[in-house]
């Protein structure tokens, strides 16, 4: 009794403190529940009531948020949570062996916690470490190049000291070795290009910007014909113009650092090595649209970079590159805060990202209104990709003409590509737009690729006959993910993996994405198991088109692509698996499976169906 009372009181005190630190502001809900999760290993039912009371909302609203994000939990987790990445690239590099080793070493299955409450074991989708797979997060600490041996060793050490930071032995290069990062993550920069990864002189870009008028800055960006680097390719200057023109008491600059598209990790490298360029780019955006507040939405998986990024922000403030009167420009005040995500791919969709920043579940919003008119907190908002802001800074530093000399006509500049999978040199390549996929593969040492997924699961699977195609907005558009598959891989199995990913990461708001993807995956699985017939291919095509056409946001609209693009580019792989059935009627209902539960409950066999 006393003990229960003690815990209740401790919880009450802690939650009061956490909510107060967030100004009892319900729009900071993600920060609040993250803090409670960190402190108590979960956000228990009682905590939800207390949080609701403190910030003046309803308990079910808190539960709605907690239940949405993968890193938050209503039920207790271990002090240490091992999240093993089970993305396709990790699976290709022995994720299963590592998983078995963790399971055996801890004596628990995935989804369970050790009986002493110390360690939980979970799977997580792509954590942005495909170039050093298999990888895992141990709380915030990244461990890479895992093997079954290292899984045993990690477990042994954790049992000894329960301190994830002590798992890191060999520090990665560059800022991964910075005292505030201390990560074993390697940058794997394979090709340094002139725009993003080249050396920079701090303050030059923003200095040039504030010497111009905001309209001139926008004209500069438009002249450079910069398009969004997230993949969709919307002209950045136009987006800023809309945002600047929209009425509002405040305007916001949001940076999408929720790099969640499986296979991409280039923002990780920018955040590690070029945060100065990013923050200057954001300040320039702030100046251009008339904003004083920026937010970096950092995916939960990159929490290990947070302290370092806060430090860089502090440096920028002390150098006058952020804060009041930026670069001595009277009246231009701009500052940036970091908003942590909590494990959700959909939050990389710009309106879902805004929802998350507002302390809500990461459901995308209805459009119109578009964020440029009514975004974060209902104010005009521009949401741009990490790499886009870096391009902006460089355009201001070196001029639009300099920028536009790289790349192709419709796609000026360079692009950071994250190449991983069956290749000799996985890593980050800064290459000019318009480069042939074949050339990218040559650079990465992927001579025997049988298929390449360009643009992540939401992109397309490209067959060898199409390797002459070019990386650019008008041909093979990509946010940066290039996954290479060698001769031993089965493209339909890869497509099935991707469908699982979308099912897991759908917010479930709209019917087609929530239901359609489950049905698509189910039928694909039947085909893979040799139970398909030719008519199933039409079924997949039609259903895929329904999902694509009727879904509410970009996730749903691209979620059937793994199937639609393989149906188009790898049709023989399907045709080899489906067979015309002799009997026209195909039982889709498995009576034996359906009976198994009732057999178990009644302890009897079926009179009709069991011999």
């Amino acid at each position: 009794m006393n003990e229960t009372l003690g815990i209740t009181e401790a919880l009450e005190v802690a939650i009061k403190e956490i909510c107060e630190a967030c100004g009892n502001d319900r729009t900071r809900m993600v920060d609040i529940v993250r803090a409670v999760q960190d402190r108590f290993g979960c956000v228990p039912s009682q905590a939800m009531d207390l949080i609701a009371r403190e910030v003046g909302t309803h308990r079910v609203e808190v539960e709605s948020v907690v239940s949405f994000y993968a890193f938050l939990s209503k039920t207790p987790k271990g002090k240490i949570v091992i999240r093993l990445c089970n993305g396709i690239i990790d699976k290709m590099h022995g994720c299963r062996r590592v998983a078995n080793a963790f399971s055996a070493a801890l004596g628990i299955n995935f989804g369970q916690t050790t009986p002493d409450g110390a360690i939980s074991l979970e799977y997580t989708p792509c954590i942005g470490m495909c170039d050093q797979a298999p990888a895992a997060l141990v709380n915030d600490v990244v461990v890479t190049h895992l093997s079954s041996d290292s899984a045993w060793e990690i477990t042994r050490n954790l049992k000894k000291h329960l301190d994830p930071r002590r798992l890191v032995h060999n520090l990665g290069g560059g800022n991964n070795a910075h005292e505030l990062v201390q990560a074993m993550v390697a940058n794997n920069i394979r090709k340094v290009g002139p725009v993003i990864l080249a050396e920079m002189s701090p303050g030059e870009a923003i200095g040039k910007a504030v010497a111009m008028s905001p309209a001139e800055v926008i004209r500069y960006v438009k002249t450079a014909r910069l398009r969004g680097r997230g993949g969709a390719g919307f002209p950045t200057g136009m987006k800023w113009e809309f945002t600047r023109a929209a009425p509002g008491e405040e305007r916001y600059v949001l940076c999408n650092a929720d790099e969640g598209e499986p296979g991409t990790f280039k923002d990780r490298v920018i955040l590690t090595e070029r945060p100065d360029l990013l923050f200057e780019g954001m300040a320039i955006a702030g100046y251009a649209i008339g904003s004083s507040k920026g937010v970096v939405y950092l995916r939960g998986e990159y929490a290990y970079l947070r302290r370092f990024l806060e430090h860089v922000l502090a440096e920028h403030r002390s150098k006058g590159l952020l804060g009041d009167n930026v670069c001595g420009k009277q009246g231009f005040n701009f500052d940036i805060r970091i908003q942590m995500g909590a494990g959700s791919y959909i939050c990389g969709e710009e309106t879902a990202l805004i929802s998350s920043c507002e302390g809500l579940r990461g459901d995308p919003k209805n459009r119109p209104p578009f964020p440029a008119r009514k975004g974060y907190l209902g104010m005009p908002t521009t949401v741009n990709n990490v790499e886009t802001f870096c391009c902006v800074a460089r355009i201001l530093e070196k001029g639009p003409g300099w920028f536009a000399q790289f790349g192709s006509k419709g796609s000026p500049g360079t692009k950071l590509l994250s190449v991983a999978g069956d290749c000799m040199s996985p890593g980050v390549y800064e290459l000019p737009f318009g480069i042939q996929l074949r050339e990218v593969l040559r650079l990465a040492g992927a001579a025997d690729a049988i298929a390449v997924q360009v643009g992540g699961p939401s992109g397309q699977m490209v067959a060898p006959g199409e390797f002459h195609r070019t990386i650019c907005y008008d041909d093979l558009a990509t946010g940066g993910s290039i996954m290479v598959f060698g001769p031993d891989r089965h493209v339909l199995a890869v497509a099935a993996e991707f469908m699982d990913f979308f099912i897991e990461e759908s917010c479930g708001y709209c019917t087609p994405c929530r239901v359609g993807n489950v049905l698509l995956k189910q039928r694909l699985e039947q085909i893979i198991q040799g139970k398909g017939e030719p008519a199933d291919l039409d079924y997949l095509q039609q259903l895929g088109e329904t999902v694509k056409t009727t879904s509410r946001c970009g996730l749903g609209q691209t979620s059937p692509n793994p199937i639609l693009s393989t149906l188009k580019n790898f049709r023989p792989a399907y045709e080899a698996l489906v067979t015309e059935q002799e009997e026209a009627f195909q039982p889709s209902f498995d009576v034996q499976a359906a009976l198994s539960e009732s057999r178990e409950i009644t302890g009897r066999r079926s009179v009709l169906f069991d011999a």
């Binding site: 479930g508 709209c510 019917t511 239901v515 489950v518």
Partner: protein
């Protein structure tokens, strides 16, 4: 407000008011666009996607998309009907809908839409989910088997009743309506007279002890298909 926005639906010229959605303007003109999550008096939500139309060549939800001068909307085309049929079927196979003994039968908007679209059996396989039933409240029953996640109860409780009894929890296929309490509807401040109770388009939220009150033959959709009331406006207007 005066009808100053002229646009087209399936080749017919329509006049609408500035700020109206495609659905609102179509309703007034007597053109029925099928819908499930949308309901008069509730904020547009855009979840079921059954009202998908092609506006200026792009698929849009008619319930959330504002009209624009000169906009060309396709509503009643073979392709769009196929999409809608697919969506209605998805909602059937996603839950466990037992029309033959559901109290809502004959008054159910999902069932009525299926009849209107001539769906006798879905082509998608049933998913047979395991879902809860909350019978804790003395006057109200929630059967999640029949829920189509339209958010009508959520919006009605928040915007009409001023209570926030409901909200979604979970994501993807695990998304479900939760109540503002530890577990049971009994522990919320909902009342049987709340709008949230009466807006459910299906039999997921039911008033207890009133099942089958209306005999077959006198239920909402026994004689005329869903949408007939809206289409009657056009007939009345053209006379």
């Amino acid at each position: 407000m005066s009808k100053t926005v002229t646009f087209m639906i399936d080749g017919v010229e329509i006049q609408g008011c500035p700020g109206q959605t495609i659905m609102e303007a179509a309703d007034e003109a007597g053109i029925y666009i099928p819908r499930l999550c949308s309901r008069n008096g509730l904020a547009p939500y855009g979840a079921c996607r059954v009202c998908t139309v092609i506006a200026n060549g792009r698929p849009q939800a008619a319930c959330t998309q504002p009209i624009m001068p000169g906009m060309v909307v396709e509503n009643d085309t073979e392709e769009i009907l196929r999409l809608r049929r697919d969506l209605i079927e998805m909602l059937f196979v996603e839950g466990n809908h037992f029309c033959m003994f559901c109290e809502k039968s004959g008054n159910c908007e999902l069932q009525a839409l299926a009849y209107r679209f001539g769906i006798t059996a879905p082509k998608h396989p049933y998913l047979f989910p395991k879902r809860d039933l909350d019978a804790s409240h003395p006057d109200i029953l929630i059967d999640h088997d029949r829920c189509i996640l339209c958010a009508r109860c959520i919006r009605a409780s928040r915007d009409l009743d001023g209570k926030n009894v409901f909200q979604f929890v979970g994501r993807g296929p695990h998304r479900k309506v939760a109540v503002n309490a530890e577990a049971n509807l009994r522990d919320t401040d909902i009342d049987v007279t709340d709008e949230a109770v009466s807006v459910c388009p299906v039999g997921a939220i039911l008033k207890k002890r009133v099942g089958y009150a209306v005999p077959i033959g006198r239920r909402d959709y026994d004689h005329k298909p869903i949408g007939s009331d809206i289409e009657a406006r056009q007939a009345a207007g053209s006379e």
